[in-house]
């Protein structure tokens, strides 16, 4: 009987190990602002980024404010959505489209710091 119990526990452990080792649903950027997103939202952890020493507490690197195409220092835009300023197509007010705002912000920083993904499928991981 004891052997039987050990065997059952072993089988149960094997069967559930998949859950323990899978990462679960990864944190992703939402794609609500896009009319027809053709890729899954990029994998992005806000916490990982705020805890990075290079960014530390300068929220305005990403949550920046521009007025008349110049950066407004010491102001940040956490309460706005990226899509409030960056429209789907570049326009006269803002030459950087929403897609490019994301792509360039992420990749240029990752290149400069020599860390973080830069290839398409490293962020747009298939679901």
């Amino acid at each position: 009987m004891k052997q039987w119990k050990i065997l059952m526990m072993f089988i149960l452990a094997l069967a559930t190990s998949g859950i323990a080792f899978s990462q679960g649903e990864q944190e992703r950027l939402n794609t609500l602002a896009f009319e027809m997103p053709r890729r899954p939202g990029a994998v992005f952890s806000h916490d990982d980024h705020t805890q990075t020493t290079e960014i530390s507490d300068d929220c305005a690197i990403c949550h920046h404010v521009y007025a008349n195409k110049t950066l407004v220092p010491d102001e940040s835009s956490e309460d706005n959505a990226c899509s409030d300023c960056h429209s789907l197509q570049p326009d006269r007010k803002n030459s950087i489209s929403l897609v490019n705002a994301f792509h360039k912000r992420c990749k240029e920083c990752h290149y400069d710091l020599g860390k973080g993904p830069v290839l398409c499928g490293e962020c747009h991981i298939k679901k």
Binding site: R38, P90, S95, S97, V99, N100, H103, K104, L119, C120, G121, E122, I125, K126
Partner: protein
């Protein structure tokens, strides 16, 4: 974008340009007689006739090979140019944009290109007269075209070793661009010249069609 994409694109464009100039120069030095009968009208007539699918008689005699070959050549250019992932990269660098084709369509057409290349290999292996004209280099060249499409397909589906597959995709594309002017891939400029020559000789001297 790194420097390699520019280096390879420039080698391709300037290489083809230099090749074109050298051919014209050689015509002027060694084959001047050609200038006595070559005309723009007969040249264009022949080039256009050979661009129309199944219009030249010899293409109708081998419809399977010619049909696959024609589609292959069209896709070879259309697929990379109208692929969304490529347009996104161009857009990031130049703020240029044009409509992209559907990803699923591109995916299926990529498989088509791969099958066409396999077909070309089999044709060179098993059709005696083609086999006779085939050298080892021809297979290497087919492999060079195959690689960007296979790695692109694998990268899109994120099957295995994503990072390495993408690097292989970029490198194989760059190698392909660099090799174009120095290999028979330069038939992208020499083929129209051949048509101009043949079209003019047939049209202007023999008063016949060359298609």
């Amino acid at each position: 974008m790194g420097p390699m994409v520019w280096i390879s694109a420039l080698i391709c464009i300037f290489g083809l340009l230099v090749k074109f100039i050298l051919i014209i120069k050689e015509v002027y030095e060694k084959e001047r007689y050609l200038l006595s009968y070559i005309t723009v009208r007969h040249s264009l007539r022949s080039i256009i006739a050979w661009l129309i699918p199944f219009y030249p008689r010899s293409t109708r005699m081998r419809p399977v090979y010619y049909g696959i070959s024609y589609l292959f050549h069209v896709l070879l250019f259309l697929l990379p140019v109208f692929l969304m992932s490529h347009i996104v990269l161009i857009n990031e660098s130049f703020n240029l944009s044009w409509p992209a084709m559907n990803d699923t369509a591109a995916d299926i057409l990529t498989i088509g290109v791969i099958f066409a290349l396999v077909f070309f290999v089999l044709r060179r292996r098993f059709i005696p007269d083609v086999r006779f004209l085939t050298s080892f280099m021809d297979y290497i060249l087919i492999l060079m075209v195959l690689l960007p499409f296979v790695t692109g397909f694998l990268a899109y589906h994120q099957v295995i070793l994503y990072k390495w597959i993408v690097i292989a995709h970029v490198l194989s594309g760059e190698v392909l661009l660099i090799v174009i002017p120095f290999s028979r891939f330069s038939h992208m400029i020499t083929a129209p010249l051949t048509r101009a020559y043949t079209g003019s000789e047939f049209g202007n001297i023999r008063h016949a069609r060359d298609w």
